[in-house]
């Protein structure tokens, strides 16, 4: 009896020790990756990165056109994708709660959310690049918009579902029509959550490379022409990291650092806003 107890205890101790080890491994991996990123990124960080364009091989330069391109295409991607996603999520939470259409859309949306982004890139190539005859920042923005939509749909629906129905009923009782109830009451109540969703969507598309590879391509000069290829941070990192030129590799690390810091800042901001909401 005692030996059975002892062996059971031993097994438990070993299993729990392995769990500690797992946690340690996970944290170690994070430390190694973030550490390498911070080390390699900060040692090459200089004001020139934000003031000069991407250089030819073997010369020093910066990432200005790539940063600009990323900002612009992300902005337009969110501009196109967020309203679409928000309205779709509104339908699912307000008009179609429990309906078959809502269930199907939610199912499809979740699949689109986790689908490989390279497939979205191929899709936009077929519908935007081929008809236009060339790569363009416009096609790149469309690709990013298609990645923003599923995130925004999901968070909008979840956040609107959390708004208590009593609020809506009170507004209706005062005579507000349905659409104004949604716009003036439900949106206001879920505002923090909706903003969180937006920030998460931006964080998600900031690091996406594959869909931009065959839509916006790349451009070593400054370009603000939407009808032409435009540089972006992830694609520039891809090109520079695979090259043998030291200056280019250093710029790749700096670019990676910039993207990661932006994504982390957005995620932390989203978290703070979300926490504020619950404490109110």
């Amino acid at each position: 009896m005692a030996s059975l107890q002892a062996s059971r205890q031993l097994r438990s101790v070993i299993a729990m020790a392995l769990c500690w080890v797992s946690a340690g491994l996970g944290l170690t991996a994070l430390a190694l990756i973030l550490g390498a990123l911070l080390w390699n990124g900060f040692t090459s960080l200089a004001p020139a990165v934000f003031t000069q364009m991407t250089p030819p091989p073997g010369a020093a330069g910066g990432l200005l056109n790539a940063i600009f391109g990323s900002l612009v295409m992300t902005f337009f991607g969110v501009l196109i994708g967020a309203p679409l996603g928000m309205l779709a999520g509104t339908y699912m939470a307000e008009y179609g709660r429990g309906s078959k259409l809502t269930m199907v859309v939610r199912f499809i949306n979740d699949i689109l959310l986790s689908a490989p982004s390279i497939v979205i890139g191929l899709f936009v190539y077929e519908i935007a690049v081929v008809p236009m005859g060339h790569f363009s920042a416009f096609a790149g923005s469309i690709a990013l918009a298609l990645l923003v939509v599923p995130v925004v749909v999901r968070t909008t629906e979840d956040m609107l579902n959390l708004v208590p129905s009593t609020l809506r009923e009170a507004a209706s009782a005062l005579g507000l029509p349905r659409s104004l109830v949604i716009r003036h009451v439900a949106y206001k109540a879920a505002r923090a959550g909706l903003i969180t969703g937006l920030l998460l969507a931006v964080a998600r598309v900031s690091g996406e490379t594959a869909p931009l590879l065959f839509t916006a391509l790349n451009n070593q000069f400054w370009s603000s022409n939407f009808n032409a290829p435009m540089a972006s941070l992830p694609v520039v990192i891809f090109q520079f990291a695979l090259s043998p030129y030291k200056e280019w590799q250093q710029l790749a690390w700096v670019g990676a650092l910039i993207i990661t810091m932006a994504v982390l800042a957005l995620s932390i901001t989203a978290r703070i806003i979300g926490a504020q909401r619950t404490t109110k």
């Binding site: 797992s22 008009y95 497939v119 659409s179 690091g207 990291a241």
Partner: protein, 330 residues
């Protein structure tokens, strides 16, 4: 008399205004309803559009090669003979390696966070693990290429090759030369990428177990491990499988992390230390330079294949996770 006239006029005005406002409300309401419904339907159309355009782009290749596309491992741009087998093999093997590594560790982290971790550390460590999830995949790629691969090439792979050198069978699986990059490295990077996903879904699922069940088990003298194994795991089994399948779907489609370290060799070799290719790495590397309609179409056919595979995996995971939500609501 005048007052009665005045008041009746005012009333009809008010009625008019009221009717106008109500009609405006009605129009606004139905417009809003229509707009939001069409946006919801657009999401469906999006999926349909993706599938349709992929099929359209892939049809020249599929017509040319037929079912043989899936079973041929040729990839010859010279003779325009393309087959998906090498890419499918690489995709599956790297994802399986990733699951083999990430599932035990991810579950271990989830158990740690729900059972063992001191309460004050739970949030910070949970956030730290989720930070791993937030890192864009291209960073995993360059980290893998610049830091992990040289480390593996210099220290780990020679040791592994030497260890298995004389064991029949396994010596094929771990054969040299030590490139540093290759299928095993890609699988390792994928494992680190899907680790936070598995651990956060598992942790949410573990947290959904009613405490009374665990307390009852502790009450009759079960050890921690027995509670996890016999109470928590069976209760959450469906959710765990759903989370693992979600991670699998993510691993299958991952592009940037793999492209840097996979070695781009259209081959099926027994050694996991050697180079290979995955569907997404092939497309990313070759699409912008594919000349010839058949080459481009074959790459789109690969994309279609990937989409179908991930769709099936993600659909299964969605169904399983939906069941868990319903279970929790009960």
């Amino acid at each position: 008399m005048a007052e009665a006239l005045l008041s009746s006029m005012a009333k009809s005005d008010a009625v008019d205004i009221r009717e106008k406002v109500l009609r405006r409300f009605e129009v606004g309401d139905s417009a809003f309803h229509t707009i939001t419904m069409s946006c919801a339907i657009t999401v469906l159309l999006l999926l349909g559009g993706v599938i349709f355009s992929l099929v359209y782009g892939a049809s020249p290749a599929l017509r040319q090669f037929g079912f043989g596309f899936l079973t041929s491992h040729a990839w010859n741009p010279v003779t325009e003979n393309f087959g998906a087998l090498a890419a499918i093999y690489g995709t599956l093997v790297t994802s399986i390696i990733a699951l083999l590594i990430a599932v035990p560790i991810g579950l271990g982290i989830a158990v740690f966070l729900t059972e063992l971790c001191p309460y004050s550390l739970r949030r910070p460590i949970g956030i730290a693990v989720e930070l791993l999830a937030g890192i864009p995949s291209i960073i995993y790629g360059i980290w893998g290429m610049f830091i992990l691969a040289p480390f593996l090439q210099a220290h780990v792979e020679p040791a592994v090759i030497a260890t298995f050198h004389n064991i029949p069978g396994l010596s094929q699986v771990f054969a040299g030369p030590p490139y540093g990059i290759g299928i095993a490295t890609a699988g390792l990077i994928l494992a680190i990428m899907i680790l936070p996903l598995i651990s956060s879904i598992s942790r949410d699922v573990f947290n959904s177990v009613p405490p009374v069940l665990k307390e009852a088990a502790f009450g009759i003298g079960c050890t921690r491990w027995e509670v996890v194994r016999r109470i928590v795991a069976p209760y959450t089994g469906v959710g765990l499988v759903g989370g693992i399948m979600l991670a699998l779907g993510r691993a299958l489609g991952e592009t940037m992390a793999v492209t840097f370290v996979i070695g781009n060799a259209h081959k099926i070799a027994p050694s996991i230390l050697g180079p290979g290719t995955t569907i997404s790495a092939t497309i990313a590397n070759e699409f912008t330079e594919a000349d010839g309609a058949l080459y481009t179409s074959s790459l789109i056919a690969l994309g279609l294949l990937l989409f179908v595979i991930t769709f099936i995996v993600l659909a299964i995971s969605r169904l399983l996770l939906m069941r868990v939500e319903q279970q929790g609501a009960r």
